[in-house]
C-alpha cells in the first residue's frame, strides 16, 4: 500500500529560501506530522484491501487473504448471465441521464447567464436552496408520483429523475461558466450573420469546455453512485444497476460469491475513479468559480 515510510530528514532547502537550521522542536513537529499523515493514509486505504485482493483471488472469502492470483472473477463477471446486464444498465442510466442533464443545463445556464428577467435571482437562489433537501425526505412522494404517471420500475423514469436531480448543480455551474465568456465574442458572431443559436453553438460551446466537463463528471458520478433512487424506483431484477446488484448479491448471506462480488465492486468503482483523476483540476476551479458568481 502507498504508505511510504516517512522520510524524517529535512527537505533540501533551496538556496534562495535558506532558513535558520532546524531546531529539535521542528524535528519533533515534522516527525509527528509524517506519522499523522501516514496513519491517516493507512486508515483511508486499508478498507480497500479486501476488495482489491479478493477481486484477483481464485479462492476469495469474506476476509483479507493473500490472493491466489487469477482473473477468473472478472471473466466470470463479464460472462455470467446476470452481471453484465448490471453494468449495461448502469451505463445506460448514467450516460443518458448525464446527456439530458447537460443539454438542459447548457440551455438553461445560457438563459440564466445572458438574460436579466423577472424571477432570475429568485430562481438562482431556489436552485441553491434545493441542495439543502436531503434525498430521503422526498423519495416517498416521488415514488408515488412515479407510480401515478406510470414511470416507476422503468429505466426511462429513473433516467429522467436522475437528470432532474443533477440539474440544480449543473445549472449553477454552467451559468457561472457561460457568464465568464465575454458577450462581445457572441456579438461579433451575430454581426457575421450567425443566429443566436448558431453563435451559441460555434462560439460559446467551445469556450465552456472545462465547466462542461466538470458538470458532466459530477453528474455522471452522482448518478452512477446513486443507491437510494434506483432502490426505490426499480423492482425488476433485469433493470437493476450495479449499485443495487451489488447490494442484493451481498445480502444473500448463505451463498455469496465473494470473488465475483469483489470483482464487480472493482468494475463499479473504476469509471468514477478514472473520471475523477481526469478532471480533478478543472473541478475545483470551476466549482469555486461557479459558486462565486450569481
Amino acid at each position: 500500500m502507498a504508505t511510504a515510510v516517512a522520510p524524517t530528514a529535512p527537505a533540501p532547502s533551496h538556496r534562495k529560501m535558506r532558513r535558520r537550521p532546524l531546531t529539535p522542536l521542528d524535528r519533533v513537529q515534522r516527525t509527528l506530522g509524517y506519522v499523522l499523515i501516514a496513519l491517516l493514509a493507512v486508515f483511508c486505504l486499508v478498507p480497500f484491501a479486501w476488495v482489491v485482493f479478493s477481486a484477483v483471488d481464485a479462492n476469495a472469502g469474506p476476509n483479507v487473504q493473500w490472493p491466489a492470483l487469477s482473473f477468473d472473477n472478472f471473466v466470470q463477471f463479464f460472462t455470467n448471465r446476470g452481471t453484465p446486464l448490471l453494468l449495461v444498465n448502469s451505463l445506460i442510466i448514467s450516460v443518458t441521464a448525464t446527456v439530458i442533464n447537460l443539454a438542459l443545463g447548457l440551455a438553461g445556464g445560457y438563459a440564466l447567464a445572458r438574460f436579466r428577467f423577472a424571477g432570475r435571482r429568485a430562481f438562482m437562489f431556489g436552485i441553491l436552496l434545493i441542495r439543502v433537501v436531503p434525498a430521503p425526505a422526498t423519495i416517498v412522494a416521488l415514488y408515488l408520483i412515479m407510480v401515478n404517471i406510470g414511470l416507476s420500475n422503468t429505466l426511462i423514469g429513473l433516467i429522467i429523475v436522475e437528470a432532474a436531480f443533477q440539474l440544480p448543480v449543473t445549472l449553477w455551474l454552467l451559468a457561472g461558466t457561460i457568464a465568464a465568456v465575454p458577450i462581445e465574442l457572441e456579438e461579433a458572431a451575430w454581426m457575421d450573420g450567425n443566429s443566436r443559436l448558431q453563435a451559441i453553438w460555434r462560439i460559446v460551446l467551445p469556450l465552456v469546455g472545462p465547466g462542461l466537463g466538470a458538470a458532466a463528471m459530477l453528474s455522471f458520478m452522482n448518478v452512477w453512485g446513486d443507491f437510494l433512487t434506483p432502490l426505490v424506483l426499480l423492482q425488476s431484477t433485469d433493470l437493476y444497476p450495479l449499485s443495487i446488484g451489488l447490494f442484493r448479491a451481498f445480502s444473500e448471506y448463505n451463498q455469496v460469491d465473494w470473488g465475483l462480488l469483489a470483482a464487480s465492486a472493482i468494475v463499479y468503482l473504476v469509471p468514477p475513479a478514472v473520471l475523477y483523476m481526469f478532471v480533478r483540476k478543472h473541478l475545483l476551479r470551476s466549482s469555486l468559480g461557479g459558486a462565486v458568481k450569481g
Binding site: A2, T3, A4, Q29, G33, Y34, L36, I37, L40, A41, C44, L45, V46, P47, F48, A49, W50, V51, S54, P62, N63, L104, A107, A111, L112, R116, F117, A118, G119, A122, F125, I130, V132, V133, P134, P136, A137, I139, V140, A141, L142, L144, I145, A164, L167, P168, L171, I183, F227, L228, V232, S243, L246, A262, A265, Y268, L269, P272, A273, Y276
Partner: protein, 312 residues
Amino acid sequence: MTSTLDVPVSAAANTPPLPKRRRQRNGPLIALLLGPSVILITLFIVLPAFYSIYLSLTNTQLTGFAARDPQFVGLDNFTYLLSNADFLGSLGQTATFTLFSAIIGQTVLGMVAAILLSRPWLRGKGLFGAAVLMPMIVPEVVASLAWASVLSNNSEGTLNRLTGLFGADPTDWLQVVPLTSIIIVNIWRGVAFAMIMFQAALEDVPAELIEAARIDGASAVQVFRHVTLPLIRGPVFLYLLLTTISTVGVFGLVYFLTQGGPGGQTRIAAIYIYERALQFSQIGIGSAASIILLVIVLVLGIVYVRLAKVEV
C-alpha cells in the same frame, strides 16, 4: 415558477443594456432555453416536497384498506411521531451520527490533513492526498462493502486481526457497537471533502500574517488558533453547513451495512422514513417523518448561514 417573463427593468450592472424591442423578443427564447429545466425541477424535486406535506396529513397506505381511500387526518401523524419512542430515538441517532462523524470527526481529520498537506516541508503530498481522496470517489456501495470486511465478526476480519495483536477477543463490531462503527465509516468517507474545502480556504490566508506571528514568537498552535482560524471562519461554517446537510441525507452507506439494526440501533432518520413508508407501506407516517426531518435541516441551515454570515 413564472420566472420566464422578460421585463424591461434596468439590467444588472455587467450586461450592456439592450434596446427594448430586442429584449421583448427574448421572452420566448428564454422560455425555450430555461423551460425544460424548470419543468423537470418542478416536477421531480419541488412537487415531491409539497406532495410530502399533503401526504403527511393523510393516512395514505401503499396496500390494504386505506390504500384505496386515503383520509385526511390532520396532524395525527405528527402527534403520533413526536410521542413515538422509535422515531425520537431515530432522530437522536441521526443527531449523534451527524455530530460525531461530520461535525467532529471529518472536520478535525480534514483540517489536520489540509494543514499537513500545506506544509512546504512535507514530501509525497500527491500520494498522501490521493490516499485520502480514495474513500470519497468510490460509490457508497463499494465503501460499505469494503467496510463489511473490516468490521466482519469473523476472527479473521481486518479489525479483529488488528485488535487481536493486542490480545483482544474477536468482536462482532456491527452488533456490539453499531452506531460507533457507522460513525467511523462515515468519518472515513468524508475526510476528503473536508480536506478539499479547508485546503482551498488555507490557500487564501496571506503567508505574511503567519510569518509575522511566528516572528513575534507565537507557537504553531497559537498561530492556528488566533490567526488562521479566524481568517477561515467563513469557509469552515460553509463546510459545516454542507456536511451537515449531506450527512443527514446519508442512506446507502448505513443501510448496506446494518439495514437499521440491530434492534434499531442504527435506524437513522433516512432509514426510518424508508422503512415506514416503503416497507411497512405507511406513506402518511413516513411523509410526516420526512417533513420533520426537512424542517430540522432548514432550521440548521439558517442557523449556520447566520453564524457564518455567508452571502449567497
